[in-house]
């Protein structure tokens, strides 16, 4: 650590303290509030096992929504990412597409969910639409970035054969950017499951609807059942995606490292 980096760390701490002032972010309040947490924690232990059935069906709905939203979102995002890649298109194509994608990413999925609840009414469909919107914005961005990062060596070598642009995309660009795509989709699904649990808060279906309602009526024990189910399911999904990653992605990356 040199004096310069010490100075920077000191400055950052000072800025955080100054910024906290008008937000009334007082650590003392946090300490005072700890007993309240203990009350909630105690009530949470009073779980109602009868609710596990309902929780199971509602998490299933959540996973269904996340799955449909991810698949449809990726299907829409892929062609858009081709159009948004700077190394494949002229400015007049990629600039507007990028602007649209940036706009879809600006709002978190919960805001999209509110919009779609107004459009199509309460229920899972509004939630699916919200997940699609967010997935499109996100996957398209990750994907056009990995298309732009594709190694120029095979692109140049295959261009020199005299192939058409679409042949180049199909036989070089897509396979070279595909390993990233699988890991991006897994990440997105993971993320979407967690997002979908929240979407119930605005009436867009899924398990979040139950959680928010039980919390509203101070029935922490009942809410705890649902939260526990979410926790277990998220852990299971995480475990599965680690397995998939190990099998298909890590192997490919090790292979790439050997490539000289």
């Amino acid at each position: 650590m040199n004096p310069k980096s010490n100075l920077i760390i000191g400055l950052v701490i000072a800025v955080v303290v100054v910024m906290s002032y008008n937000l009334e972010a007082d650590p003392a309040q946090f300490v005072d509030g700890i007993p309240n947490l203990a009350i909630i924690a105690k009530e949470m232990t009073e779980v109602e096992p009868a609710l596990f059935g309902t929780a199971f069906w509602s998490i299933l709905e959540t996973i269904q929504m996340a799955f449909i939203g991810t698949v449809v979102g990726v299907a829409i995002a892929l062609p858009l990412s081709m159009l948004a890649a700077r190394n494949l298109n002229s400015k007049f194509v990629y600039a507007p597409i990028r602007a649209i994608l940036a706009a879809t990413r600006t709002f978190p999925s919960i805001l999209w969910a509110i919009l779609f609840v107004i459009m199509v009414g309460l229920g899972p469909f509004a939630g699916i639409l919200a997940i699609i919107m967010y997935t499109v914005g996100f996957i398209a961005k990750l994907q056009y970035e990995s298309i732009e990062a594709v190694d120029s060596d095979p692109v140049e070598a295959v261009s020199s054969i005299g192939v058409s642009k679409w042949q180049l995309i199909r036989h070089v660009i897509i396979p070279e950017s595909a390993p990233h795509l699988l890991s991006q989709i897994l990440y997105m699904f993971d993320y979407n499951v967690r997002q979908t649990t929240i979407l119930g808060l605005v009436g867009a279906g899924g398990i979040g609807f139950y959680i928010i309602n039980y919390i509203k009526f101070f029935e922490y024990g009942k809410a705890a059942v649902f939260m526990l189910v979410v926790l277990i399911v998220v852990l299971i999904i995480d475990w599965i995606s680690v397995k998939i990653r190990d099998k298909y992605i890590i192997k490919a990356q090790r292979g790439m490292k050997i490539a000289v």
């Binding site: 190694d151 005299g162 679409w166 595909a178 050997i258």
Partner: protein
């Protein structure tokens, strides 16, 4: 005019070997090349390469050897002077030349293989200019192209690894794939940029023998860039020595002597010195 894109050019190049002194496939007249418009990486290059020759370009790193190949395959255009490849102007924007490019097998120094697809798929890329857009989008290759690819894989000794992903191969095997892809183009001209420079001696020899055999078998003209002048003199009919962007010598073997066709007065002593330098 003999166009590179004509289908039976293999036979034409074969017949031309009989009157070897009149048929040139590459003609360069006072060629200058630059990437930034200020510094010239190639200066005053004048050379002609006879059809069917095994031609080598040697020289130290940064001497402009790779640029010379890029001028031939149309990836770069000269700043001054004229380059003719089989009577065509190499220029990737030229539709006529784009057809001709399909007949130039170019193996860059980094090989330019697609890592995440199989060996067979990489070789089939060489056939893309002959396959329709719609079919190639769905990876539907005609049976004759697939069997041709398998034949070429056998020739380069990779028939057992056709379904292997390319990133799993060794350095020598990757070079074989790159050679196979170039041969799949049914080329009349084979360009290879330092294809063996990173390999051990044994593998380097195997690869060079493979190229020489393929060249003979398909009646190609081969232009290979080497870092090592020994490799050039051992395998090629003609060796152009490039130094600081200029062609200083053009060596060939006549009888049991190495002669310089450019200046005509290089001594065996000087050649031996060049030898030991590299």
């Amino acid at each position: 005019m003999i166009s590179l894109s004509r289908g039976n050019s293999h036979h034409q190049s074969f017949s031309s070997l009989s009157n070897i002194t009149t048929r040139t496939i590459i003609q360069m007249n006072d060629v200058w090349a630059s990437y930034d418009g200020k510094n010239y990486v190639l200066k005053e290059i004048t050379l002609s390469i006879i059809r069917g020759t095994n031609y080598a370009i040697v020289g130290p790193s940064g001497s402009g050897k790779s640029t010379l190949l890029r001028l031939i395959n149309g990836m770069m255009r000269p700043s001054k002077g004229q380059v003719k490849v089989d009577y065509e102007n190499p220029n990737t924007n030229n539709k006529q030349f784009k057809l001709a490019m399909a007949k130039i097998g170019y193996i860059p120094q980094n090989l330019g293989l697609v890592r995440n697809i199989t060996v067979l798929d990489n070789v089939l890329i060489g056939a893309l200019p002959r396959v329709g857009k719609f079919k190639s989008f769905f990876k539907i290759f005609p049976d004759n192209e697939t069997s041709e690819a398998e034949k070429i894989l056998k020739l380069v000794g990779l028939e057992d690894k056709a379904e292997r992903k390319t990133y799993m191969l060794s350095g020598g095997e990757k070079r074989r794939v790159a050679i196979a892809r170039a041969l799949m183009q049914k080329p009349v001209l084979l360009l290879a940029d330092e294809i063996v420079s990173e390999l051990d001696h044994v593998t380097a020899r195997e690869i060079m023998d493979l190229v020489v055999n393929a060249k003979r078998r398909f009646n190609l003209t081969a232009i290979m860039v080497h870092h090592d002048i020994k490799l050039g003199l051992e395998y090629a009919d003609r060796v152009a020595v490039i130094k600081e962007g200029q062609k200083i010598l053009e060596l060939g073997v006549e009888g049991d002597k190495i002669v310089d066709f450019q200046t005509g007065n290089i001594s065996q002593q000087e050649i031996m010195e060049l030898y030991s330098e590299s």
